[in-house]
Structure formats: structure tokens, C-alpha cells
């Protein structure tokens, strides 16, 4: 879709990809797919395809970055050159550096960093295909990678965006809606603790619309959380059976 579409919502109230206003894109998540990482996850959120890998806790290198009282969490968000329509330079761009920081800060409240002082955990996020809302999908996958690495966490973090297109507040914008629409509000959320760890807004919204968007995004988060939890459990079903055997 190179030219700008005139209407993002048609007369029937459906969006360009046929979704309703408050409908998520299909989400598929798999856990533990990289054998060399301590923990890993893969998410397909609509047309987004993202890999996340966690390593650690391990000794911090370079050593001067380690903290005497806590573990250091490092994130690297990176888009593959082939992930978007026009080839993206593989060098980290301004945007990627910022997203790395934003993702790190949205994960930090969920991890018990104080348990393992002087160590570091690295999370690598590789976007294989991007279609709007990659930061949210990245956070969802990165939280799973951390949990899969066995790092103690207060809660899983799950993220989802809402926004405004054609004067309507909608859930989970994809690329065209994000670019042509009026506003985008990504939210990261810890469902069990009912705490927001990331809240950004790009564009202009009225206060009432903003509130509606945040609530809508949180509802979306809760739906993705169920998928996220299920993905994590699926990997460990086998091991659960094993523990039951031990009981006999």
C-alpha cells in the first residue's frame, strides 16, 4: 500500500485489514526455540515476526558496567535489513537505540534485579518482519524469554497499542494505520499486579480519547496475556508430566 488510503474505516465499521475497531490481530507465540540461548521466544503478531533471546544471569562484560547491588538488564532491539519494505541499514538507528531503552525500562520493574548483584542479563530482540507495533510485540516476547531463562520475575509483561484513526479510537494499529492515522498509544502492562510499565503517545488525542485508548490497550494486553501464558505453559507440560512420574 504505497498511496495513502482515503478512509481507514469503511462504512461497515471495518478497518483496512477487515478487523473490527476493538479487534486484535492474530497472535501466535512459541517459547524456547533457540537452543543456544538460556531462554527464548518467538512471536507472530499479525504480520510482525520477532525473535527474542535472553542470556544470563552471567558476569557483566565490560566489568565496570556491573552494579554492586543489583543485576543489570541490557536490551538490544534490532530490525533485520529485510524486515521492512525498503532495505533498512543494519546499523542501529536512532529509533532502535531508543526502543532498546524503552523496552529495557518496561521490563525492569518485572525482574528481581536485586537477587543477583554484580551480574548482567542480556536480551536480544530481532525483528524479522515489521508491520507496526513491533515494540509491543517485542516486550511480550522478551518477557517470555526472561521467564524461559529461569530469571525470577514479579510478573510477565505484556504490551499492546491502541490509537486513533479517522476520529475513532481503535485497538492494535498495523503499519498503514500507524502512519496515516492520528495517534498511537503503546502500553505495557503487568496483568497480575495491575501495573503499567510503559505508556507512550505519538500524535494528538483529547483527554477522553486518551483515556479510552489506554483502557482499550489494557484490555488488549489482557487478551494477549492469556496467549502468552499458554505459550509458556505448553513448553513445560512435558516436564510437568515428568514430575508427576517422580511422585509415583
Amino acid at each position: 500500500m504505497n498511496e495513502k488510503p482515503e478512509k481507514l474505516i469503511d462504512k461497515k465499521g471495518l478497518r483496512l485489514d477487515g478487523r473490527k475497531v476493538d479487534e486484535l490481530r492474530p497472535v501466535k507465540i512459541e517459547v524456547g526455540i533457540l537452543s543456544n540461548a538460556d531462554g527464548s521466544a518467538y512471536i507472530e503478531h499479525g504480520k510482525n515476526k520477532i525473535l527474542a533471546a535472553a542470556f544470563g544471569p552471567r558476569e557483566m562484560h565490560p566489568k565496570h558496567l556491573s552494579q554492586p547491588d543489583r543485576m543489570v538488564l541490557r536490551c538490544r532491539y534490532h530490525m533485520a535489513p529485510f524486515s521492512v519494505g525498503e532495505r533498512k541499514s543494519p546499523a542501529p538507528s536512532r529509533r532502535e537505540i531508543e526502543l532498546s531503552k524503552v523496552i529495557r525500562e518496561s521490563l525492569e520493574p518485572s525482574v528481581f534485579l536485586e537477587y543477583y548483584p554484580r551480574t548482567g542479563v542480556d536480551v536480544f530482540i530481532e525483528v524479522l518482519q515489521a508491520d507496526g507495533g513491533t515494540r509491543c510485540a517485542s516486550i511480550t516476547a522478551a518477557a517470555l524469554a526472561l521467564a524461559d531463562a529461569g530469571i525470577p520475575m514479579r510478573d510477565l509483561v505484556v504490551a499492546c497499542a491502541a490509537g486513533k484513526i479517522d476520529d475513532t479510537v481503535v485497538l492494535d494499529l498495523f503499519d498503514t494505520e500507524d502512519k496515516v492515522g492520528c495517534a498511537d498509544v503503546p502500553v505495557a502492562f503487568m496483568p497480575n499486579l495491575n501495573a503499567v510499565t510503559l505508556l507512550q503517545m505519538d500524535g494528538i488525542l483529547k483527554p477522553a480519547e486518551f483515556e479510552k485508548a489506554v483502557n482499550m490497550a489494557i484490555e488488549g494486553c489482557k487478551k494477549i496475556y492469556e496467549i502468552q501464558k499458554e505459550a509458556l505453559k505448553t513448553k513445560y507440560m512435558l516436564i510437568q508430566a515428568e514430575e508427576e512420574v517422580e511422585e509415583e
Binding site: 558476569e59 520475575m153 515428568e242 514430575e243 512420574v245
Partner: protein
């Protein structure tokens, strides 16, 4: 004061486990009189104490643990040892030499050099210092023979079996000596490399098939069959 799980239920980080006067056991945490899981694992409640048996974790040093490590660096007054934990461990020269250590007389790399494997116990560890190892007890020290195999640290109890049934059976069937490092590294020493291979194959079988029932019996069966095969080959 309810609990929100069934016995041995699979829980994910952040799941609410109990509310009220419950104690937060391993892999859980309490906040506002609520107990949550902090790792993926199986929940258990015993005497008002809620525990989660972690299905995914890593080795974390504890004083008194026996571990198997690799020397990675020879320093001025000791060695740095990789024990597959978040921290590298230190082994002091005076501990190994059992006499006062003088840098001018002793060349440390002649005692232990990079790449050497050692069996050691963790002598001290706290949040502010890297773990210190000791080899001052019988059975500890440099590994001179045998083979190494690795399993996930959380599977070590499975290799031991109930009351040590699994490990003693493997020892008996293969005639090998087996030392289990709690960090997931296992040393197998036998009379011949064939015996060692057999014991290692059995251990790997435990790791890959640990979710199936009657494992001890099947590993016994496996060992007997393999031994029979070797006998046949000899006779031919």
C-alpha cells in the same frame, strides 16, 4: 485465606498463589499478604508455606555444594574457575598447596593450568564476594581421568533418583565411579572408556527421557541390553 492452585499445578511468573497468612517459600514472593509465583514451576503448599518447584532455573552457588569446574585463568595467588554459575569462582593457592604459598617458589601453572577440571566444594559465598572454592577434603581436587558429561542443574535430583536408587544402580551396572557436581557437571570414571561411555549414555537417557514413567527400570534394561551387545561383539 484461600489458595488459588491445585497441588502440582503448573504456574507462571506473577500468578497469584495464595492470599492471607501464607509464607512465601522458594520461587515465590509476597506482597500485601498475597503470594505470587516468581518462576515457572509446580506449586505446592505445605503447612501454610507456599513453594514453587522451578522447572527452569540455573545453578546458584551455595556454601557446601560440591561442584565441578574448569580453570579459566591462573592468577597471582590463585585460580579463576568457571562453575557454570552467574559468578566465576576463586580457588586460592594456599588452599591447594596445603602449605604457605610463596610466589617466588611456586609456579601456579604447574599445579593447575587453564582448562584443567577440578572437583571442589564451595567454601564461602555471599552477595558481595565471588564464591571461593576449597579442595581440602578427600575426593576433591584435580580430575586426572574419566569423562565429563553435562545435564541441566535442575535434573540432578532425577539422576540421583529416589534415595539414590538411580545413581547407585548405574554405578553398580557399569562399575564406574560417578561424581555429581550440583552445577550440572557429572564426572564418570571407570575401568575402561567403554564402561564410561555406557554410564554417560545412561545419564543422557535420563535427561532426555526424564518425563516418562518407570525410568529406573528402563535404564536398568538399557544398560543390560547394551552390555549384552558388547559381549556379543567380543565373542564374534
Amino acid at each position: 485465606m484461600p489458595t488459588y492452585f491445585e497441588k502440582k499445578q503448573l504456574v507462571t511468573p506473577g500468578e497469584l498463589l495464595a492470599e492471607g497468612e501464607y509464607m512465601a517459600g522458594s520461587n515465590t514472593y509476597a506482597e500485601n499478604k498475597k503470594v505470587y509465583a516468581s518462576r515457572i514451576g509446580l506449586a505446592n503448599c505445605d503447612n501454610k508455606r507456599v513453594d514453587v518447584v522451578a522447572l527452569r532455573s540455573f545453578y546458584f552457588p551455595k556454601v557446601g555444594d560440591m561442584v565441578i569446574g574448569t580453570v579459566i585463568e591462573v592468577g597471582f595467588s590463585g585460580w579463576t574457575v568457571d562453575i557454570k554459575a552467574p559468578y566465576t569462582a576463586l580457588l586460592r593457592a594456599s588452599d591447594v598447596l596445603s602449605r604457605p604459598f610463596k610466589p617466588q617458589n611456586d609456579e601456579l601453572s604447574q599445579v593447575l593450568s587453564g582448562g584443567d577440571l577440578i572437583v571442589a566444594k564451595i567454601a564461602s559465598y555471599d552477595r558481595t564476594h565471588d564464591p571461593q572454592l576449597t579442595v581440602g577434603e578427600p575426593g576433591l581436587g584435580k580430575i586426572t581421568r574419566g569423562q565429563i558429561t553435562k545435564v541441566t542443574p535442575s535434573k540432578i535430583p532425577r539422576v540421583i533418583g529416589r534415595k539414590g536408587s538411580m545413581i547407585s544402580m548405574i554405578k553398580q551396572e557399569t562399575g564406574c565411579q560417578i561424581i555429581l557436581g550440583l552445577n550440572g557437571v557429572i564426572l564418570v570414571t571407570g575401568k575402561s572408556p567403554d564402561d564410561e561411555d555406557l554410564a554417560m549414555a545412561a545419564i543422557q537417557k535420563i535427561e532426555s527421557e526424564s518425563h516418562t514413567s518407570g525410568l529406573t527400570d528402563r535404564v536398568t534394561q538399557f544398560l543390560k541390553e547394551e552390555k549384552a551387545k558388547v559381549e556379543e561383539n567380543k565373542n564374534e
